[in-house]
Symmetry: C3
Subunit: 262 residues, 3 copies
């Protein structure tokens, strides 16, 4: 499974993003860093066209721009069998945001949904949703409950569900993994979640088992978070060293440092 | 006063930004770094909603997008008593920009306005305004004149006025502070002014004395500029080390290094 | 020729950008770093106005936003004799993108066009265009062919043509330069091409010989790429050190390290 990283770096697949204006640069850079080729084409007049020539599609509702482009690109991706990865940023935070999210979920077949516990609980109908774009502490009671939520939501929607947090969870309904890699500093910079989604999309573009693709992606993220934390002295250098680590991660590092249980 | 930093890091208040597309990532990161939680929600269909659940609202006209969202969020913030911090980027640079600025100032009660000397002079009706987004040297004759402008404009508008430059000025009409902390390299990267506004908003969200909140914010900015300059070798590393310093600033550092006079 | 850098740092000309949302921050920072002053004003209600007071105009179609603002600002720049530098990101990748590109090229007189080999070949009518925003390996057969393409396209359009790649090419039809400076890692981060365009625009704003301005710009880019590669350990630090190098490049360094042939 972990050798997908080698395949990814060889194939350099095109990853289409329709995303927010805050972390769009970080997402493009992490996509390049992990070994794929990003294209951030949000204009509705070409979104469907670009989706067709891409190998995966990221839909991120962070700044709620271009929802119509997302649906248009998404339909095009579904027709071609190209995996769509949804990042439901701030799910629950406003009625309009929820309406957009509902539109995406009801119109598109999603390969993977990645969010924090607050966002995923909202989609699962279990909470009023996020109180911002960061996870609320109240929403995480214990890791087994979170794993159950991911499992049940995966069965319901037919999508692989990834919940990122202190322990990351990946579930396809049948299998559920808990990932121990990672570092608290990852929450100190903006865009870590968005970048995780880009990395998941990169792996899903070349590995049809989205559980394995998502698990490998989250292992990369967690290990790089640990590596960055070892040598950084604040938020600025953490972000730089994290991008350094992503561009250097390889099969050997993944084998040596991966820590998860099924 | 300087202990607001400790309170901020404990409370992690939500800071709503409607801002430009150039420095939006830097502003989100500095807001996290100083201890608050950013949300960059510019869509008019949720802007008022998000303003209501936030603790401060930043309005930055840098790329002149979303002026209607700004008014909508601003009215909502005013109703709830949530402080609005205005960043009048490039005030005076074009008729349409001035029109937008006028719309904001005449429709909203602003807690703080932070700009460079060219921008503040334009708002005070004392110059034709900025010739770009950077301050014009011609606009700063001497620091006492700048202090008077801030004081008079504060009395006129009922807002705390912050003028950033070699010496930063903070005035609420009654009290005027001149801040000596800072470093020339802060002008060499884009977004230093925008980031200052985010830090001011973060402090204003938990301290109702906006003079003290703004003064503390500018001391943080200035000290972190000095710390970053000590160890950086160019614009790239300066920006990284500045974000590092912001995430590490604390009460002790503020007490030790603050340099200002009332 | 190489002493334009000294003039640039003294004059600090205003460089107007209408550009994509991915690399807009990097472009603002590199413009400051090389010694000019960026203004990123994309709103159609002020674009023409801002173009008039600027010394060069960058049009970058990366995210295909604001095409009407580009035409409006471009007409204004042409009337005033202000050089326009076009970055045809992803030329050929979708019909709508090609339509926008055609609109720009047929309506405006362009001082310089800078793209990768896939983009320039598309404009020259020699290929179906890019398959993403990165160059396709198939499009570069050999460097002499690329030089011929640049020369011929320059004669046809009356614009200086810059093709960036392992060897960079600059041609004004009469003279064609091949630049050996540079480093493969420059392709590993997003925005290197966009930044090159900003640096070209900065030099064209103060040097009417656009061939010399573009050549000097590309020498700066290449040398800074080499300097950054020497001390960086991954994509994150490469980007930081590249911005460091740009802010430190000067006449002496240019003289010492420039490597090109006419």
């Amino acid at each position: 499974m972990l050798d997908i990283i080698t395949k990814l770096r060889t194939e350099k697949p095109l990853i289409h993003h329709i995303t927010n204006f805050v972390t769009i640069n970080d997402q493009a850079n992490i996509t390049l860093g992990i070994g794929a080729s990003p294209i951030m084409a949000n204009n509705i007049k070409e979104a469907a066209e670009i989706a067709k020539i891409s190998k995966a599609l990221v839909l991120n509702i962070g700044t709620l721009n271009d929802i119509d482009s997302m649906i248009s690109a998404g339909i095009s991706a579904n027709e071609k069998g190209i995996p769509i990865i949804l990042d439901p940023v701030g799910a629950g935070v406003s009625p309009y945001r929820n309406e957009c999210l509902e539109k995406i979920i009801s119109n598109l077949k999603l390969a993977v949904i990645r969010g924090n516990i607050s966002e995923i609980k909202f989609i699962a109908g279990m909470s009023k949703g996020a109180t911002g774009v960061d996870a609320s502490n109240e929403d995480l009671k214990n890791i087994n409950e979170a794993a159950d939520i991911a499992k049940n939501l995966s069965e319901k929607l037919g999508s692989t569900i990834v919940i990122t947090g202190e322990i990351d969870i990946v579930s396809n309904g049948e299998k559920t993994a808990k990932i121990k890699n990672g570092h608290p500093r990852m929450a100190n910079i903006t865009g870590t979640g968005c970048m995780a989604t880009s990395v998941i999309a990169s792996f899903c573009s070349i590995e049809k088992d989205y559980f394995e693709a998502s698990l490998t992606a989250m292992l990369c993220m967690g290990i790089c978070g640990e590596l960055a934390a070892e040598t950084s002295v604040g938020n600025g250098s953490f972000k730089v060293k994290f991008q350094d680590a992503i561009s250097n991660i390889n099969y050997e590092l993944l084998q040596k440092r991966s820590s998860y249980e099924l």
